[in-house]
Amino acid sequence: MSFVRFAWSWLTSAQQWHGPDSIPVRVAQHLGYAGLSLLVAAAIAVPLGILIGHTGRGRFFVLNLANVWRAIPTLGLLILMVVLLGFSALTWLIPLVVLAIPPILVNAFEGVAGVDPELKDAALGMGMTRWQMLRKVEVPLATPLIVLGLRTAAIFVVATATIAAEIALGGLGRYILDGLAANDYAEVAGGATVIVVLALAVQVIFVVLRRLIVPAGLRAQSRSSR
């Protein structure tokens, strides 16, 4: 159980909690990278996914995108960006956004495209305009999948931000790579522990987000059907 011992001794030493390389600073950096790229990706992919789901145009493109994006090697993409563009904010933001878009887009698309046609007929029959139907029927029904897409993207972005330490970005991956380079396993173990805690905390945030965003009727329904 030396991992636990190493991690504990590293985490409990005071120097980890003060100064420019301290855990709070690194956590803030990590959440900053992940949060910013997730926001940009969501701003692009949620409306686009809803639009494609509503109109049905571009369906083929979205479904294939879903298959290809898992194959993209994130480490390679990050390093390629540095080698081509040099190091700047865009170097990490572009790959993180590009990698976060597909899961959000695909889920938003599937959420809207999967709305029961009878419900849409009913909405139109009640005299709703197409815009009202989109806003009051299709999008609310798609929220469980939209939140799911955001959650997958968040997992991906947190993981990629960890690897991004390789291209000299801050964040929690630094501890692992610096520790490996210096043969300091305590730092590696401590850093990995913080990352695991952060990743799980992000999951909890999404469980809460789901509670807040998904309409109560849908939540009750999914509970009774299981």
């Binding site: 993209i72 090697p73 899961p103 959650r151 390789e166 850093g191 799980l200 999914s222």
Partner: protein, 243 residues
């Protein structure tokens, strides 16, 4: 390419972004790392499948087992691969085994829900018919329920294989050889050709494996031909149920 104009000054001027001659010159090395990457990408999903089938059967039979297993796998799935690698280093060292175990865990997270869904998707009349024909429970499982679950399981296996092949390259950060070698080497030498080549090879490897699995899936399920394909449950969809 747009990137060419933004190229940093430190690279010698006039050197094109892609040096084609690099590929034949380093062929044996490229081939070796591609094989390593293929092994690291393909072995874990297969081990994961071997574990998740009995685990899935058990989860369907003993219902109480499944919710905690599902919570555990979806939690593991959220942890960055690099962190999982280094947690394992202490137990398995800086070797292939570390990456294989980590990727097996991730594959399991994808496969288990698909096995369970596939088995639960077997309709009650079909099970009753098998029982009425005198099938024992074990024979019904092997000859009726598991084959019916194949499309859903295969869809999960495709996701697991493609992800593993791509994630295997991250193992290079802890020194386990894969196509990720060219990422790090190309970075150190500021030589984009290597990086392009390795990205393309990872994509080709992943999509080729995906294609093979599609074909295998069709061969295994001749009765499915001409029907719509089963959609895999993505691991991310688990969150909804847990919430």
């Amino acid at each position: 390419m747009v990137a060419g104009r933004l190229r940093p000054a430190r690279r010698p001027e006039g050197l094109p972004d892609v040096v084609w001659s690099w590929i034949p010159q380093n062929w044996t090395q490229i081939w070796q790392y591609t094989l390593d990457n293929a092994l690291l990408g393909l072995l874990p999903p297969l081990i994961g499948l071997a574990i998740s089938v009995p685990l899935g059967v058990a989860s369907v039979r003993w219902r109480l087992l499944y919710p905690p297993l599902l919570s555990l796998t979806s939690a593991i799935y959220a942890i960055p691969s690099l962190a999982v690698f280094v947690v394992l280093i202490d137990y398995t060292g800086l070797g292939n085994l570390t990456v294989i175990i980590a990727l097996t865990l991730f594959s399991l997270c994808v496969l288990l829900p698909n096995v369970v869904d596939g088995l639960r998707g077997v309709s009650e009349p079909v099970r009753q018919a098998a029982t009425a024909m005198g099938y024992s429970e074990v024979r019904r499982l092997v000859q009726v329920e598991l084959p019916i679950a194949i499309p859903v399981v295969m869809a999960g296996l495709r996701i697991a294989v493609v992800s593993s092949i791509s994630l295997a390259s991250v193992g290079q950060l802890i020194g386990v050889s894969s196509l990720g070698y060219f990422f790090l080497d190309g970075f150190q030498r500021d030589f984009p050709t290597e990086i392009y080549a390795a990205i393309v090879l990872v994509l080709v490897l992943a999509l080729l494996s995906d294609l093979v699995l599609i074909v295998v899936g069709r061969i295994l399920t001749p009765w499915q031909r001409g029907q719509r394909h089963a959609r895999a449950r993505r691991p991310d969809e688990l969150a909804g149920e847990l919430a």
